[in-house]
């Protein structure tokens, strides 16, 4: 039998594939005389045995069968990663396997603090570098903790970023495995990284250094001192001092914590010139050993320089992937982002929307209107880009909280944490509450209903209606008052009550916080607050953006109306609306009619698997949303089938009996609002709106993530 654990001195070349790239690289440096922390490796054999013995392999296969990873959006990858991590956490290592691993772990590691690091086969090879994809856990003590953290490292093989990367490299997803390197914890005085060849200048070598542990540097929370050296002579070309050396990462009772740096250190450069020289030398040696530029982590304690890891430098080229990777933010980064969003961006969006709505478009002449449309388009584009750059990454706050919650509570349902977030008042829910109030008035007063049906609005109803239109009703989805009236009339027929979150949120919160020590509780509480803000803003930011988009679309609509008066009643591009307003004689081109003759298809879908996103199951008639106006035709109890639910369209959700959405994920708007109202919801069904037809009878099973189309 292959060893499940191999001690440092037992490692041979033939073990490379079962101890992984990171461990093997470090071992090569050790053999070449580098000072490295003592370590042992838990081999891929242990990972494979765990999967086989625990039944987890079958569960992973079922998870992989749900949807091809290559067809998933990033939200769906988050979810898959979360579900898989939860499976690992809730699956104990079988006792006989625990006993075997325990018996093979070198005894001198049982009491000392260690770092538990990922070391995947293929990782850090000449062709692939998984830098930062897999997890490492610092300051772990005792056999039980080592095993628990080993399991978390195994699970990180299936983090969303790791899945994405494997898929991109064409590596075999289903048969990937993971080794773990357990390293003696070195609490360095100064730590950092060195690029043996600067990725931007092959003649240079770059060193970054901070006081304390290098976690803060690796995660981007602590700004380092940076040296650039001439690669060939080793002479220092430049030393860049950070704007401030105000923070330091040090060991805490469990793991690490970030705090203010002692004043003495904040004025002290982390490295002497002699130390810079020593780091330069190990980097050059490492590059020679591996024959590739190296990205090394090092630390210095009591004047001893340790190499913690060394891996080849690879340059990421894929910008979409880079953006995706940038979504994963640290707690510190998210806190800063939160402040910026709440204190700068949203107030700025609101005042921008208010300023736009204050302008009477009817008073503008055609040239002024054209200029106004262009201006509004630019404003909308600016905010849309801000949304991608700043608002979407903030959604990681929910995810970060979810991970912390799942780590401490280990719930069976990996989305239990959402109940704790749902306590916050979403703007869309407040908006729907106003609709409900108007529907209530109509339901109880037949005379009022008749008046509203005839377009006569008065009294309390009018007051509520005007307030609603002012606050919520200008967006890409709502441009006509009559649509809203029709919706209220439908709500008036069908009493729909928003399902109160039946969970005892206060108790859940206390249970969550009680898992932390007194010192940690403040941090846990902040993580919860961050998760709540992220959950709320994930919806609200769209509504604010929708208001700005609505103002842009109103101006466009006004422009189209004026062109219609000139006889231009056909579909034209937005740029042609502007051109037509600037120039009275401009005739916009007619768009060529798209040939639309789909092949006759005999195969029809009957049952489709997606992602479970809102619990419960329901059978009802489908209402497929192809155009925005289709939204207003929905009848109570119908199954809303759409491409994706925008927070600006969630006012129809209280009428829906179930939701089917092409876009996937548990933390997307459709899933969040479905959960808020207790509506069965399945997401991530490609082509949902073309497979399902309005009028089909469908069953939505939000528990299993399945949709059945009944054709009688």
């Amino acid at each position: 039998m292959t060893n499940l654990v191999i001690p440092m001195e037992g490692i041979r070349q033939e073990h490379m594939d079962i101890i992984g790239g990171k461990a093997y690289s470090l071992h090569r440096l050790f053999e070449k005389g580098f000072r490295v922390p003592a370590y042992f490796c838990v081999t891929t054999e242990a990972y494979n045995k765990f999967l086989d013995c625990s039944g987890l392999k079958g569960r992973l296969m079922i998870e992989f069968a749900r949807k091809d990873f290559s067809k998933m959006r990033w939200e769906e990858m988050w979810d898959a990663g979360l579900r898989i991590r939860n499976m690992f956490m809730n699956t104990p290592i079988p006792p006989h396997l625990v006993d075997t691993i325990k018996s093979q772990i070198p005894r001198n590691f049982l009491k000392k603090a260690v770092v538990v690091r990922s070391s995947a086969p293929g990782e850090d090879s000449s062709k692939t570098s998984f830098a930062g994809l897999h997890e490492s856990y610092v300051n772990v003590t005792g056999i039980e903790e080592i095993l628990e953290n080993t399991k978390l490292v195994w699970a990180s093989l299936w983090s969303d970023a790791a899945i994405l990367y494997r898929q991109e490299l064409g590596l075999d997803i289903e048969h990937s495995s993971m080794a773990v390197m357990v390293q003696e914890m070195i609490e360095g005085d100064v730590s950092g990284i060195v690029f043996s060849t600067d990725p931007n200048n092959a003649d240079k070598l770059t060193i970054e250094a901070i006081h304390g542990l290098n976690k803060g540097l690796v995660e981007g929370d602590v700004e380092p001192d940076r040296w650039q050296l001439d690669k060939f002579s080793g002479s220092i070309v430049q030393h860049l001092v950070p704007s401030s050396r105000d923070r330091i990462v040090s060991l805490s009772k469990k793991g690490t914590s970030m705090g203010s740096i002692p004043q003495l250190l904040s004025h002290k450069t982390p490295l002497t010139n002699d130390e810079v020289k020593r780091i330069y030398e190990i980097a050059i040696s490492s590059e020679k050993i591996f024959d590739l530029p190296q990205d090394m982590e090092w630390t210095i304690i009591n004047n001893e320089l340790y190499t913690l890891q060394s891996r080849p430098i690879t340059n990421a080229q894929n910008t979409e992937k880079q953006w995706y990777m940038s979504l994963k933010r640290t707690f510190e980064n998210l806190k800063q982002l939160h402040n910026r969003i709440e204190q700068e961006l949203i107030p700025s969006m609101i005042s921008e929307a208010n300023a736009l709505s204050g302008l009477d478009l009817h008073k503008l002449n055609n040239v002024e209107l054209a200029a106004e449309i262009s201006r509004r388009q630019e404003i909308y584009q600016k905010w849309d880009e801000t949304y991608t750059r700043e608002f979407i990454p903030f959604a990681h706050g929910m995810r970060l909280f979810g991970q912390v919650y799942n780590d401490v509570i280990k719930p069976q349902d990996p989305y239990e944490f959402v109940d704790l977030l749902a306590d916050s008042k979403l703007l869309s829910v407040q908006r729907n509450e106003q609709l409900r109030q108007m529907a209530e008035l109509i339901r109880n007063d037949t005379a009022l209903r008749k008046k509203v049906e005839n377009g006569i609005l008065e009294g309390k109803f009018k007051e509520l209606f005007d307030n609603f239109m002012d606050n919520f009703a200008r967006s890409a989805y709502v441009t006509e008052e009559k649509d809203i009236i029709r919706l209220i009339l439908e709500l008036g027929f069908a009493p729909v009550s928003a399902e109160e979150n039946s969970k005892d949120v206060k108790k859940m919160e206390m249970d969550f916080l009680s898992n932390f020590t007194d010192e940690e509780r403040e941090w846990a509480s902040q993580i919860l607050d961050l998760g709540r803000a992220s959950y709320r803003l994930r919806d609200d930011d769209n509504i604010y953006l929708g208001r700005i988009e609505g103002q842009y679309l109103s101006s466009l609509k006004e422009g189209k109306l004026r062109l219609e008066e000139r006889g231009i009643r056909y579909e034209i591009e937005n740029s042609d609306v502007i051109a037509g307003l600037y120039n009275d004689s401009y005739i916009p081109p007619v768009k060529p009619i798209q040939e639309n003759s789909p092949l006759k298809q005999k195969a029809t879908d009957r049952q489709i698997q997606g992602q479970p996103a809102g619990k419960g199951s329901v059978t009802g008639i489908a209402r497929v949303i192809n155009e925005n106006t289709d939204l207003f035709n929905i009848h109570a109890g119908e199954i809303l089938v759409c491409d994706s639910i925008d927070p600006n369209m969630t006012f129809v959700i209280p009428l829906a009996g179930g939701i089917v959405e092409r876009r996937g994920g548990m933390l997307i708007h459709g899933a969040i609002i479905a959960r808020e109202y207790g509506i069965p919801c399945v997401t991530g069904i490609p082509d949902a709106i073309s497979i399902i037809k309005t009028g089909d009878e469908v069953t939505v099973d939000g528990n299993l993530g399945i949709v059945v189309i009944h054709r009688h």
């Binding site: 569960r59 059978t619 528990n703 299993l704």
Partner: protein, 146 residues
């Protein structure tokens, strides 16, 4: 291989194989699909799980009569000689998800725990009246379970 002992073939197939082909019918129209089954200790009954909105569930609600085929095909020509096939015949009913039945089912399919516990999934008990064992393409033996 115990090709000559039908009871051993039955035991091996019901123990080793994970999936079987379940046949139900609706108004004379047969309908088959794969199910993940588990067998009781003496093979008197078989368990499987199905979502309640499936065609097999609605067929079984109308008629309990069903059969289940389990085999060990390898999809090579050698199957004509080597493959063994077991056909269970009997009646199927939905049962409560009591701990004993859950344990029995999950002992064979631990990865289907969420699927089994799901409120919209039904646990079905296939009470076997007769097994039919076929070997070497055309040798057929019946095992009465009543």
């Amino acid at each position: 291989m115990e090709v000559s002992d039908p009871e051993k073939i039955m035991s091996r197939l019901l123990t080793d194989q994970l999936l079987g082909v379940l046949a139900t019918q609706n108004n004379g129209q047969p309908y088959t699909n794969l199910v993940a089954f588990a067998a009781s200790e003496k093979f008197k009954y078989l368990l499987f799980v199905t979502p309640k909105f499936t065609r097999k569930y609605s067929n079984l609600s109308l008629s309990q009569e069903a059969s289940l085929m389990v085999d060990n095909r390898s999809n090579t020509v050698s199957d004509f000689k080597e493959a063994t096939v077991l056909n269970a015949m009997g009646k199927v009913e939905e049962i409560d998800k009591d701990p004993e039945m859950i344990t029995l089912y999950l002992a064979k399919h631990p990865y289907l725990s969420s699927f089994l516990k799901n409120p919209s999934s039904a646990l079905m008990k296939f009470q076997v009246e007769k097994y039919i064992v076929a070997t070497s393409f055309q040798n057929v033996v019946e095992i009465d379970m009543l």
